[in-house]
Amino acid sequence: MPELADICNVLLLRDYNTRLVVICTMLLGCACGLMGGFLLLRKRSLMGDTLSHATLPGVGLSFILAVALGGDGKSLPILLVGAAITGVIGCAAVLFIREQTRIKDDAAMGIVLSVFFGAGIAILGVIQTMPEGSAAGLESFIYGKTASMVMSDFQILVFVTICVITCSLLLFKEFRLLCFDETFAAALGWPVKFLDILLLALITAVTVTGLQAVGLILIIAFLITPAAAARFWTNQLDRMLVLSALIGGASGWLGASLSAFIPRLPAGAVIVLVAALFFVVSMLIGTERGVMVRFLRQSQLKKRMGRQHLLRALYEILEGGRLTEELNIRTVPFRQIRGRRTWSDTQLRDYIRRAYNDGLVEAPNKVDSILLTKTGLAEAAQVTRNHRLWEMYLIEYADVAPSRVDRDADMVEHVLGEKMVTRLENKLQAYRSAGSLVPQSPHPIHPGD
């Protein structure tokens, strides 16, 4: 096991050997996260995968070409340009198949992806037989090999990252419109094709520069995962993109550092696993759309509804059974509430326990009857009144009501306005029986009484 001091040295970039690699993957992570956000929202995730797989024949062909022309086959810029060219050809092939035939997107991408990848493997096989080929190490493009990164990689990465960030800042508005509503963008006169190509070019640049680090099979995960993770935390595009870039950067930093400690652990895979960890954590605890938040909201709603149902049931029993002056007795047998709605004993006891904790009810003899406290009675009256106002509104304005009743019962005054509430209250007065604190329900139903 590595010592803590070693870990610190690597994480804080004090270790010279890993410094370059870690900074490179961090930059790549930022660029990938940023572009991945647009890729995800443009619904082109699989296109990114096709693009990365289609780079392989380009790597092989440019190597062969460079050697044939007597140059250095391993020159990185040449290989990357070759990769970009076949990558874009792959995307164009998908678009061509989609436009010209009745084959759907997913099938077109599947075909292109595997054919280009297969061609790439075949070309690499040919290169192996060449005298210069065996030492070329082109396979590192498939799985990635961060350790092989050198100063020139760093320079290319800095350049690409700056391009990506500048374009995203300058064209934020344009890219947002393109991703959200392409048709409207075209109607406004924006050159949709040009913007689309620009976005694709940026994604290609990021993908191609990332090949060395993560490899062409895994790069798609590095593009998409941080963006998908970021989406759980916010509903605003600008924040999502910043967060996505940060998550990507953090994944690159942690992943590359981690693989530096443990020999034989390939960086590409570790980076993707770290990103996946961010994704899983975000999915669980993301504050905007995370699973936990959804669950909490649901259960809060359930509790609120339970409390309101209990109070209303108590109030309606009191109101229905006795005269006003006896209302201050406020005791209701458990059996009677139980019959009021379809709720189970456990559910009902749970609601009662909560109401008891909130000081709304008391249980005088702990077993079979419940007593509303003063606060409880006041709230019960309020809840019942609001509920009835909504009922009245639904009955009187059935045609317009559905667009408004998605709001909470407590919002009745806010949503309908004072004037409407007064009007509804007057209507309810007509139904009112003597002595009740609240107007009566316009459609009294007494289940199980």
């Binding site: 508005k173 947002r176 509503d181 409207f184 075209a186 605003q236 667009s403 998605d406």
Partner: protein, 269 residues
């Protein structure tokens, strides 16, 4: 060609003889995959009309609108808006696409969406200005969604989403509006609000074309109607063209059209 000499104008044009028509379409044909969707459309819409475009499914209603806005290539024919090509008149045109055409889960607020209507005038690289935001807020108020401005759009109901799109068209501050099924799947309250909005636009002299599905409300909402089924079956004031006979010719299916064509061929012999 001046508008007065056009045989397709069926009603007198008060005071607009010197001005170009808001929309004039000549011989428009659009084909996808060799199959024509609309053929030989000739259409003139006078200024200040509230126009419904009705016809069966697949009649080419959306295609007609998209062809007017240069969103799909035209096989033949031409469209002029206030006497010029769409490209030159873009700033005077507002567009409401079908609600299902976008992903409502997208991370933007209602206000962001409405502000997109100002992008055309903002130009490259410029951020959404305070003025744009104020205009967008005003438009949201006009459609009754001021309270919802900062909600993410997936948290809006269908009717509210539709009104967000309308607000976006309003901030375009256009003279002619194309709306693709703004009444699709909205509740009665929203429908009423939209109709009021359309009438208000008309009062301010705007021309509004609406793809509409509910035949029952056509005479009540629209004063001008285009009956479309691949060709223009009839066009004119709703009370004149919205007849049993015309509707049968529009909705009677292609079989009826072919029968009529066959009959004519037989008669001409």
């Amino acid at each position: 060609m001046s508008p007065e000499s056009d045989p397709f104008i069926q009603v007198e044009q008060t005071g607009s003889s010197s001005k170009s028509l808001p929309l004039k379409i000549r011989d428009l044909t659009v084909a996808y995959h060799r199959k024509p969707v609309i053929w030989d459309i000739d259409l003139s819409i006078p200024e200040g009309k509230l126009v419904s475009i009705v016809g069966p499914n697949g009649a080419g209603k959306s295609t007609l609108i998209k062809a007017c806005l240069d969103l799909i290539p035209r096989t033949s024919g031409e469209v002029s808006i206030y006497g010029q090509s769409y490209k030159k008149r873009r700033k005077r045109v507002g567009y409401v696409p079908q609600r299902e055409s976008v992903d409502w889960d997208f991370p933007v607020s209602a206000l962001d969406v409405v502000a997109m209507g100002t992008y055309g005038k903002l130009g490259w690289f410029r951020r959404v200005s305070k003025r744009s935001k104020a205009l967008s807020m005003e438009a949201l108020e006009r459609v009754g969604l001021a309270d919802y401005a900062h909600r993410q759009i997936s948290q809006l109901s269908g009717g509210q989403q539709q009104r967000t799109f309308l607000a976006r068209a309003l901030v375009q501050d256009a003279d002619i509006y194309f709306m693709d099924e703004p009444f699709a799947a909205v509740d009665a309250a929203t429908e009423r609000a939209i109709v009021e909005l359309l009438k208000e636009l008309q009062k301010r002299g705007k021309t509004v074309l609406v793809v509409h599905h509910d035949l029952a409300t056509v005479p009540q909402y629209f004063d001008w109607t285009v009956l479309l089924n691949m060709r223009v079956v009839a066009v004119g004031p709703t009370n004149e063209v919205f007849t049993q006979e015309n509707l049968r010719r529009t909705y009677g299916g292609k079989l009826t059209l072919f029968t009529q064509a066959a009959n004519k061929v037989v008669q001409s012999r």
